[in-house]
């Protein structure tokens, strides 16, 4: 069997450098051969002379120094997926990056990398990229563009609009551009955190977002801050948070995490205690908390909110008790609310302990006030030249329509970007930018921590570094040279301070942070007071536009890996939806999948959208939540559907996946009220998990901290030890015995592992239509269940609890010792390896699907079709160490066998054959921001995995069927409230429908 490399059309190749083209032609060769063979005429020839099948090898002309074909090289770099600037290791093979992983040595993220960060490789290889200089109606040469733009930027009235740019050299380049041209630089974030900075300007005279230190916190209270999912720097925060959730290695304490939120966020799902609270009541709650902390009513009378006074008293006393170790975070866009949060934190002694203002965050530098000025200037027609660098305001501004119209009044619009999106396609000139993985860059995620990004591949197309373009247009001499020169010179002069450039590049960062968290003593208490803060605004339906963990602010909407990821809670992928609580849905008379129309007046403009409704238990009543980031019309082919052409989810040209919710974003954190009504009609929502109740099955085992401290087997008492009563002798695993332990206490359900696995193992994405058919191919999935703690009976599908707690469980092949799948395969395509793995030989598989049927964990995936890439260039993202599976073949998690063997090889070469713990890691493990996954040799008593298997919390999933999995789980321990008083039942709902 020849596993074909799937290829698409040839014409995508036109603009590629010849080396890459040659490589691609080799890649596509097997496909062409296949086409020949399919012809019946060729059949005879094939049978007659099979030795006549010729394959060719084209060696390079010149040796690439230090590069051997087939060897993976790791380069330290910085993720360009968003402004959080996590440290990454780029795995580069044969001259192209094939995988991104978190950099373990990075002081902030410590090895994790989110789904978006890993998936940004898609943006590098997809064929929708801008392949050089363009004008609005077609291609242009760089000279034409440079001449026109240079002339324009010298004419005055220049504005430069960028996203968050944190790098010192990058900022220097921008400053140089502004200095030469008199341009005004405005930066903005589509999902703004500017209120935090603005509030600190008022209360602490520093317009910065502080660096939060969840790792120092014992009590964390979050008000709508999705800090594990999307807020400011989620990977870093998740790593910090996980440090306080670790019960291994003798640690016996957990932090206490309380979440107040309106929709159900990932962070809320991981909280110890979660309260439903409409956004409208957030101010009232804050005032209530602050008043209780202060002991008087100095912040005014709090309005009515849903949290019971008893609960609030308890939480306030917990906060007070944890003084110096407490942290209150708030995701609000309201500056007033953030000021009050600052007061609370100040009162709790958080500054200097859990909040670092000195080494403050530079991960969200967007300035809403400056943006407003730009919009006003655009409106007024005073902007002559607008330079847009890596932003998409025509899509992600709430006033996008207005912005697009105002763009017409600008004499010259120049966009620097990688893709032809809603904004760049409207601009007169488009300067094709290098993709982040093709470019040199620098970042400063936290003040004093300087990070470098280096390219993993030669630019695929005739693009130019955006900053180089700016320098060139400004007439800086550095503009004529590669941006690397500018960066290097700047670092050598300003940052390195004698350190060698190469060693900085090798390490990826220079840490010059102040070593002590410095307390800012100044606190302007009066600034925290605001007259109307305690008032609860009234309105009909509250509409929330939130940032989803999968797509984020929408810049990655064209990314198949991310689109295929299910939302952690609703498990919906390929599109957004209106999340409504079950009772709200009943009240509206809508069912899952019914189209719902939202309308509202936001900041004086009318916003409307129609999307299918999705039931979200635990969401506040009369709240409709819609994710932003969807509804992009120009995000490449992906928005028109995905998968093999004949299977594509056919959407009309120009139609988008989902609808944009940005128009519902109100400035200044105002609560958006509007109307929600059934629009008539239905749209099937693609979801990768349809049933969210455990049905009282002991799948995710959970206990409370108190119970666990009293009894380390608590929650796990019913573990049925597999009996040794068997017909068969046990097999012995003499060498390595690969095992995995997943700490459910740490898993936040963020989906990073899913994308890591898909990229590492060439797992195809299948598109909306096939997900609707329940045929997603993920080798690892994160199951989510709501607990049925109201003891409701089975009602067909979903939990009926109003505020259920959710828990996550990553499920991959469990590598059972007594694997049910192996016994039933007629052709020995799946057997147990001598190292304890359940192996699957794709080339032996004949596709009976019996193994998948007999898998109690349902982790096996069948290739229903040949899933080929739409874009030929996407094949460059394939991992050459993994077969591409053809139609009719079963596949599943191999516990990254290629990485295990590579680890063994490294042990043999560098460690005298002794495999030390940590020398092997799976893709899911190495991506996990919280390090919830541990893989290692279970026969090595020193290995962490072997120790964790002896942990009393360790349990096997479905142990009673005696499959003896090599993958085991650690019981989830929640630091629950002393007594469960948090279930605020508003009305009885137990009746049947």
């Amino acid at each position: 069997m020849a596993i074909e490399i799937q290829t698409g059309r040839q014409d995508d190749l036109a603009d590629m450098p010849p080396e890459m083209r040659a490589e691609l032609e080799v890649v596509s060769k097997s496909r062409r051969e296949f086409m020949q063979v399919t012809g019946m005429a060729a059949m005879g020839a094939v049978i007659a002379g099979c030795t006549a099948r010729e394959h060719y090898v084209n060696p390079l002309l010149k040796k690439a120094e230090g590069i051997t074909p087939g060897v993976v090289y790791d380069y330290a770099s910085t993720c360009g997926g968003c402004a959080s600037a996590c440290g990454v290791v780029m795995k580069v093979r044969d001259g192209r990056p094939v995988k991104l992983e978190g950099d373990r040595s990075n002081p902030l993220t410590r090895g994790g990398l989110c789904a978006k960060g890993q998936a940004q490789m898609w943006g590098l290889y997809d064929a929708d990229r801008v392949k050089g200089a363009r004008r609005k109606d077609g291609d242009a040469t760089w000279d034409e563009l440079d001449a026109a733009v240079t002339a324009a930027v010298r004419g005055g009235g220049v504005w430069l609009l960028t996203g968050t740019v944190s790098g010192p050299a990058a900022n220097a380049a921008i400053a140089a551009f502004c200095a030469r041209t008199g341009a005004r630089h405005v930066s903005y974030d589509a999902c703004s955190s500017h209120a935090v900075a603005a509030a600190h300007k008022a209360t602490h005279s520093a317009e910065v977002i502080p660096h939060y230190r969840f790792d120092n916190a014992r009590v964390i209270v979050s008000l709508d801050a999705d800090f594990l999912g999307t807020w400011i720097s989620p990977v870093e925060f998740a790593a910090q948070w996980a440090q306080t959730r670790d019960l291994t290695g003798g640690r016996r304490e957990l932090s206490r995490h309380i979440q107040f939120e309106s929709r159900y966020s990932l962070t809320g799902a991981n909280a110890d205690e979660r309260f439903r609270l409409p956004n409208a009541q957030r101010g009232a709650l804050l005032v209530d908390i602050a008043n209780r902390l202060a002991g008087d009513k100095r912040f005014g009378e709090p309005g009515k909110h849903d949290v019971l006074p008893a609960d609030l008293d308890r939480i306030v006393s917990e906060l007070r008790a944890a003084k110096g170790h407490a942290l209150v975070v708030c995701g609000s866009d309201s500056e007033e609310q953030q000021r009050l949060v600052n007061w609370i934190n100040h009162h709790l002694g958080a500054y200097g302990a859990t909040i670092d203002l000195r080494n403050h965050s530079r991960q969200a530098l967007g300035n809403d006030a400056a943006l407003a000025e730009l919009l006003k200037a655009l409106e007024a027609g005073s902007v002559k030249t607008l330079v847009l660098y890596g932003v998409n305001p025509a899509y992600d501004l709430p006033e996008a329509d207005k912005f697009r119209q105002a763009l017409a009044k600008v004499a010259t619009t120049v966009a620097i970007g990688t893709h032809l999106d809603e904004t760049t396609s409207e601009c007169a000139w488009v300067a094709g930018d290098h993709h982040a993985l093709e470019s040199w860059n620098d970042f400063e995620p936290v003040r004093g921590l300087y990070q470098l990004a280096q390219p993993g591949i030669r630019p695929l197309y005739k693009t130019r570094h955006g900053l180089q373009s700016l320098l060139k247009w400004a007439g800086e001499p550095a503009g004529g040279k590669d941006y690397r020169e500018y960066l290097k010179t700047f670092w050598e002069n300003n940052i390195l301070g004698g350190l060698a450039w190469t060693s900085a590049v090798e390490r990826g960062f220079v840490d010059a942070r102040a070593s002590v968290i410095h307390n800012m003593p100044v606190m302007n208490e009066d600034a925290a007071k605001a007259a109307d803060l305690g008032k609860v605004p009234a309105g009909d339906f509250e509409i929330i536009a939130y940032e989803s963990i999968n797509i984020g602010d929408g810049r990655h909407a064209g990314n198949g890996w991310l689109q295929e990821n299910g939302d952690p809670l609703t498990r919906v992928n390929w599109g957004n939806y209106v999340a409504l609580s079950p009772h709200t849905m009943e009240a509206l008379g809508v069912k899952e999948g019914d189209l719902v129309r939202l309308t509202a007046e936001v900041d004086g403009r009318q916003a409307a959208l129609t999307l299918p409704a999705v039931r979200q238990p635990g969401q506040a009543e009369k709240v409709a939540a819609v994710a932003v980031g969807y509804g992009r019309v120009k995000a490449g082919k992906i928005v028109h559907g995905m998968g093999p052409e004949e299977l594509a989810y056919n959407q009309a040209e120009g139609a988008a996946i989902g609808a944009s919710a940005y128009p519902f974003v109100a400035r200044g954190g105002k609560v958006v009220f509007g109307s929600v009504s059934a629009a008539g009609g239905k749209e099937r929502v693609a979801r990768i998990q349809e049933h969210d109740s455990q049905e009282d099955r002991p799948l995710i085992k959970e206990t409370s901290l108190g119970q666990w401290q009293a009894n380390p087997k608590s929650g796990n008492e019913h573990e049925i030890p597999p009996k040794d009563l068997t017909l068969w002798r046990k097999w012995e695993y003499k060498g390595h015995k690969w095992e995995m332990v997943v700490d459910l206490n740490k898993c936040t359900g963020c989906n990073a592992c899913v994308v890591a696995c898909s990229i590492e193992n060439n797992v195809p994405i299948v598109g909306k239509k096939e997900v609707l058919n329940r045929r997603e191919m993920h080798w690892i999935r994160i199951d989510v269940y709501y607990d049925d703690n109201d003891g409701s009976v089975y009602d067909g599908n979903l939990t009926r609890d109003e505020n259920p707690q959710a828990a996550f469980q990553p499920i991959m092949c469990q590598h059972c010792e007594n694997a049910p799948c192996e016994t039933v395969c007629p052709v020995l395509a799946t057997i147990h390896s001598e190292e304890g793995l359940n192996t699957q030989a794709y080339n032996r598989c004949i596709g009976t699907r019996y193994c998948a049927n007999n898998c109690p964990y349902k982790v096996r995936r069948f290739n229903w079709f040949t899933y080929k890439h739409n874009d030929l260039t996407m094949n460059l993202a394939l991992n050459p160490d993994i077969s591409i599976r053809t139609q009719g073949v079963m596949e599943k998690c191999s516990m990254c066998a290629q990485r295990l063997y590579e680890g063994k090889r490294m042990a043999a070469l560098h460690n005298g054959g002794k495999l030390a713990d940590g020398m092997v890691s799976t893709a899911c493990q190495s991506s996990c921001p919280t390090q919830a996954i541990v893989v290692g040799d279970g026969n090595d008593a020193d290995a962490r995995v072997a120790k964790l298997r002896k942990d009393p919390r360790n349990y096997q999933l479905l142990a009673e069927i005696n499959t003896r999995p090599a993958v085991t789980y650690l019981t989830k321990v929640r630091n629950r409230a002393p007594k469960p008083a948090n279930v605020t039942k508003t009305h009885d709902h137990g009746h049947d429908h």
Binding site: E646, Y850, P856
Partner: protein
């Protein structure tokens, strides 16, 4: 020495006092004369349906299993349902030939030939499904056979029930075909000796192997026939037992059931007899074979249908009882889900068709009414199809982890292929009744004595 017991209380097996030659003539003229318009109609219609089915199968094999409605949770649906259904249908033939032969049930002679043919065609139809259900049917049949090879050699997995299936079904088909052929040889000789056309002479002459009715040959023949009956009897039970192992040896709740082997065998006999009834009632009407397929035959068959139907009903009940009695969370849920879950409709179709509808056969009058029997047999066919569907799909679609629960929706490809196999089945049957003697007249002649002695007014015991 054989003992013939003729009794007045017995009704004649062949009515109308036919002479031996008349029997020969009655059976042979249908394959000697020009085929009727009705035959042509049936032949072309079923051939067309079969062709559409085959084309669809080809399309499905080429494009991928994704053309079916299966998903990551429900890995088997129509394919294995149809497979088990057809295998079940295939049971009656051998049962009638072998088991009833061993039990000296003389009434079998009028139906055993077509029942055996039905067995072969049903097994052929059944064999289509495991072939096309493979993701890579172009390579599966090669690799599923154990033979020395250059891969190590890499053998096959003798633990896999699917491999047992391969052996069981190929054995069953081969032995049934041999049995059928042995039975055909004397009749073919008769047809040969009546043949006029040279092509027919060669065709039947080759197939009849030069049989001339020598008693020296009959001596070997009868012993061999008896041996085949003896071999086929455990075989017929083993085949569906092994098919049931596909499910019984797995870990899926609803599949992992020790009752499956007897349950499946009873179900197979049940469905097989129902299908034989369906076919015979059509044949009896269209080919005017009332003299041979008479009320006694129908009555006896109806009794077996009633018995096996009730056995199947008992099995349904037992499954529920055991699911509750075992106390297993998953097992209990699987059965509650069967009766009340998203696929409850299929469960209740199954129960009403298989358990409730045969109960009318307690009444002799209804047992002998061909119209009632025909409608009932269709019901049983449908019910038994749904039994397999219920077992396969409802067990799979909600198993251990609720996160993977999924629904199974059919596509046009699956429907077309199911109809296509019916086309293939009936097409082969039409070909069969055109070219081969549809009734084992050699054996009918053997029991024709009943007809000729039935005017004896007293019970007569004759020692040979």
């Amino acid at each position: 020495m054989a003992v013939h017991v003729y009794s007045v209380t017995r009704e004649p097996l062949v009515v109308g006092k036919k002479t031996l030659h008349e029997i020969t003539h009655d059976v042979c003229h249908s394959i000697e004369g020009k085929p009727s318009m009705l035959w042509w109609l049936g032949f072309l219609t079923t051939g067309g349906i079969a062709a559409i089915g085959v084309i669809t199968m080809f399309y499905q094999m080429y494009t991928g299993i994704g053309t079916w409605g299966l998903n990551k949770t429900v890995g088997w649906g129509f394919d294995i349902t149809n497979f088990v259904f057809w295998i079940g249908i295939g049971h009656a033939g051998t049962l009638i030939s072998a088991v009833l032969f061993l039990f000296r049930q003389k009434w079998r002679t009028s139906i055993n030939r077509s029942a055996e043919a039905m067995t072969l065609f049903a097994v052929l139809c059944a064999l289509i499904y495991p072939t096309i259900h493979m993701g890579r049917p172009w390579i599966g049949p090669l690799w599923i056979a154990p033979y020395p090879n250059l891969r190590g050699p890499l053998w096959v997995n003798f633990r896999s029930p699917l491999l047992w299936d391969v052996f069981a079904i190929s054995t069953y088909f081969t032995i049934s075909a041999c049995f059928w052929y042995i039975g055909l040889v004397p009749d073919l000789a008769t047809v040969r000796d009546r043949a006029k056309h040279w092509l027919r002479k060669i065709f039947y002459g080759t197939l009849s192997l030069g049989w001339n009715g020598s008693v020296r040959n009959w001596n070997h023949y009868e012993t061999a026939y008896m041996i085949f009956a003896g071999l086929s009897t455990p075989l017929v039970f083993s085949v569906h037992t092994i098919v049931s192992f596909d499910f019984a040896t797995s870990v899926i709740p609803g599949w992992h059931t020790t009752i499956f082997p007897p349950y499946f065998v009873a179900g197979a006999i049940f469905s097989g007899f129902a299908m034989v009834l369906t076919l015979l009632l059509i044949a009896r009407k269209t080919m005017r074979l009332e003299a041979y397929i008479n009320d006694v035959t129908l009555d006896n068959m109806a009794k077996i249908v009633l018995l096996t139907g009730s056995l199947v009903g008992l099995a349904y009940g037992t499954e529920f009882f055991i699911a509750w009695y075992s106390g297993s969370l998953y097992e209990g849920f699987a059965f509650i889900n069967r009766a009340t879950g998203p696929f409850a409709w299929s469960y209740w179709i199954m129960v009403s068709c298989n358990v409730i509808s045969p109960q009318i056969l307690w009444f002799k009058k209804l047992r002998r009414n061909p119209w009632v029997l025909f409608v009932m047999s269709i019901f049983v066919n449908i019910g038994m199809w749904f039994e397999r569907f219920v077992i396969i799909v409802t067990s799979l679609h909600r198993d251990y982890l609720p996160s993977s629960w999924a629904y199974y929706k059919l596509t046009w490809v699956e429907y077309t292929e199911l109809i296509g196999t019916f086309g293939i089945f009936f097409f082969m049957f039409f070909v069969f009744i055109r070219f081969l003697p549809g009734i084992a007249f050699g054996e009918v002649k053997g029991v024709n004595k009943f007809a000729r002695h039935d005017d004896h007014a007293h019970a007569e015991v004759k020692h040979a």
